[in-house]
């Protein structure tokens, strides 16, 4: 699979995306499958994503206070934590963690179905695997990842608040006021916008690698590893370009 030509893969991924978005809109809407996937992919990722962002918020508060002690920076902890989380760390961390969890799960599930001919069986029964398997996952991740990201940012800000109040002795009102004064709508839009793009990347790469799994159990293993690595790299690289894009749009 690694030897597959990069250009071919990119083209196939683009084709799969087109088919998946078309299948999402095509009637009959498979809403029951969508909700099942939202539960499985989204709700069950809440714990791990929440823990990661909460502690990130707490660490941010600590680092801000102790790395710049002389500048009276204590009073800016709120905005440092919130801006970092909302603009960068929230979307990226959530995408990396949730992507690792559900992207690999998608590849393993669809990949196993591919190597045991279940995908072919579905095709032989005149049922489109993209409509039945890929589209519900794509829809679920597109809804759930932004939601998880927003919840994660909230929890991170809360974590920062706890550290600020109990360890750094900053008043809660100072912390919160500082956030309200500095956090802009553009920050929030960029947060949600990024997580939409990451959601698309996670679902498409996870499903694509599953559908193109070859060989037996070791093939599924290789495809799953490939998904995790590809996702991590693609999310980080696209984050840079998305950030540039948002800066361009806002300024």
């Amino acid at each position: 699979m690694r030897a597959r030509n990069f250009v071919t893969r990119t083209g196939e991924i683009a084709l799969l995306s087109g088919r998946a978005f078309a299948a999402m809109a095509a009637r009959p809407l498979e809403t029951r499958l969508w909700f099942a996937q939202m539960e499985q992919l989204g709700v069950r990722s809440l714990g791990v994503a929440g823990i990661a962002t909460t502690f990130t918020g707490m660490v941010l508060a600590l680092q801000t206070a102790y790395s710049l002690p002389s500048l009276g920076v204590k009073y800016y902890i709120g905005s440092v934590v919130a801006k970092s989380l909302v603009r960068e760390l929230g979307p990226v961390l959530t995408a990396l963690i949730v992507g690792g969890r559900i992207g690999s799960g998608m590849t393993a599930e669809i990949g196993t179905m591919t190597v045991t001919e279940q995908i072919d069986a579905m095709r032989s029964m005149a049922v489109d695997p993209v409509k039945k398997l890929v589209a519900p996952k794509l829809a679920a991740v597109l809804v759930m990842l932004p939601a998880l990201t927003v919840i994660g940012c909230g929890l991170g800000i809360l974590g920062g608040l706890l550290v600020a109040v109990f360890q750094l002795h900053v008043q809660a009102s100072v912390y919160l006021n500082n956030i309200v004064q500095n956090l802009t709508l553009a920050d929030v839009v960029s947060c949600v916008g990024k997580s939409f793009v990451f959601a698309y990347i996670i679902a498409i790469i996870g499903c694509y690698n599953g559908l193109h799994t070859e060989g037996g159990a070791d093939g599924v293993g290789r495809a799953t590893t490939d998904t995790v690595v590809t996702l991590a790299i693609t999310i980080m690289i696209s984050d840079y370009f998305l950030t540039r894009l948002f800066i361009l749009v806002v300024s």
Partner: protein
């Protein structure tokens, strides 16, 4: 696909009394990684017959079968099903064909996240407007046909290999197909279970109005279910005809396959290796 394959003849005029060909395959060629697996196969499958493709492992039997419902595309040549050339069709345009042509996969390929009931109900829920009660009746009927009426609530992982194949067969029968394609229906099964599957294929042939294509390396099965036989080797059919002709055939490889002489050869080697 090349625009004009010299082997692609227009469908022959209907002979008077003979049953018309349901599948007409011309010049079927398929290669993987530079190796030609199929090299210009020509054959017809007649309406209502049971056509057996016999061949050794890796001879390209599965590849041939997968061309018949368009799961794979040939490099060259054409497959005509009931008057329609399916070789150039898009996946979506193959769906009407696939509702008439069901396939039984080697490992059964049951959806392992669903019960046997839901597996058999799957094509019905997808393609028919039947109510759940009607679907339940139909599922039980099909499971009865394959002698698995009690397996409905079980998960595929709880079934034995033979039961899994029978459940998969029930799923293939769900839409009352005109054609059934069997990919190695007895591989991995013990002789008794194999015979049971073979009998089932014969029963289906007798009681339902279907055309069947069986690919196998199981000679017993081929002899018991096949009306006509093709022997596939090195990308060609070395033989194509009925059983009487197969037994008279002078082809040495087919002769070895039919007589089971390979066992003796191996013994000869073993004994001649001894000083």
């Amino acid at each position: 696909m090349p625009p004009d394959d010299p082997l692609h003849a227009p469908p022959p005029p209907e002979p008077r009394a003979e049953p018309p060909a349901l599948f007409t395959v011309r010049g079927l060629t398929k290669g993987y990684a530079g190796r030609k697996v199929l090299d210009g196969l020509d054959f017809e499958i007649l309406r209502g017959e049971c056509f057996v493709i016999l061949g050794r492992s890796g001879s390209g039997k599965s590849v041939t079968l997968r061309q018949l419902n368009g799961l794979d595309k040939p490099d060259a040549g054409s497959v005509v099903f009931d008057g329609t050339d399916i070789t150039g069709l898009e996946e979506r345009d193959l769906y009407p064909l696939r509702r008439r042509v069901a396939m039984l996969f080697q490992g059964g390929a049951l959806f392992d996240s669903m019960t046997v009931f839901d597996n058999v109900a799957f094509p019905l829920r997808e393609h028919t407007g039947l109510s759940e009660a009607e679907i339940a009746a139909k599922v039980q009927e099909k499971l009865g046909l394959v002698h698995l009426p009690e397996a409905a609530p079980k998960m595929p992982s709880d079934l034995s290999g033979g039961m899994r194949k029978r459940a998969a067969l029930a799923r293939s029968l769900a839409l009352d197909p005109e054609v059934l394609l069997y990919d190695e229906p007895t591989t991995g099964l013990d002789p008794i279970t194999s015979a049971a599957i073979g009998k089932l294929i014969r029963q289906i042939h007798r009681h339902l109005d279907v055309t069947q294509v069986v690919i196998t390396h199981d000679l017993d099965l081929a002899q018991h279910v096949g009306d006509r036989l093709a022997y596939l080797s090195e990308g060609h059919f070395r033989f194509l005809g009925d059983w009487a002709a197969a037994k008279r055939s002078s082809d040495p490889e087919l002769g070895d396959m039919l007589s089971g002489r390979e066992w003796e050869k191996e013994d000869d080697h073993a004994s001649s290796a001894q000083p």
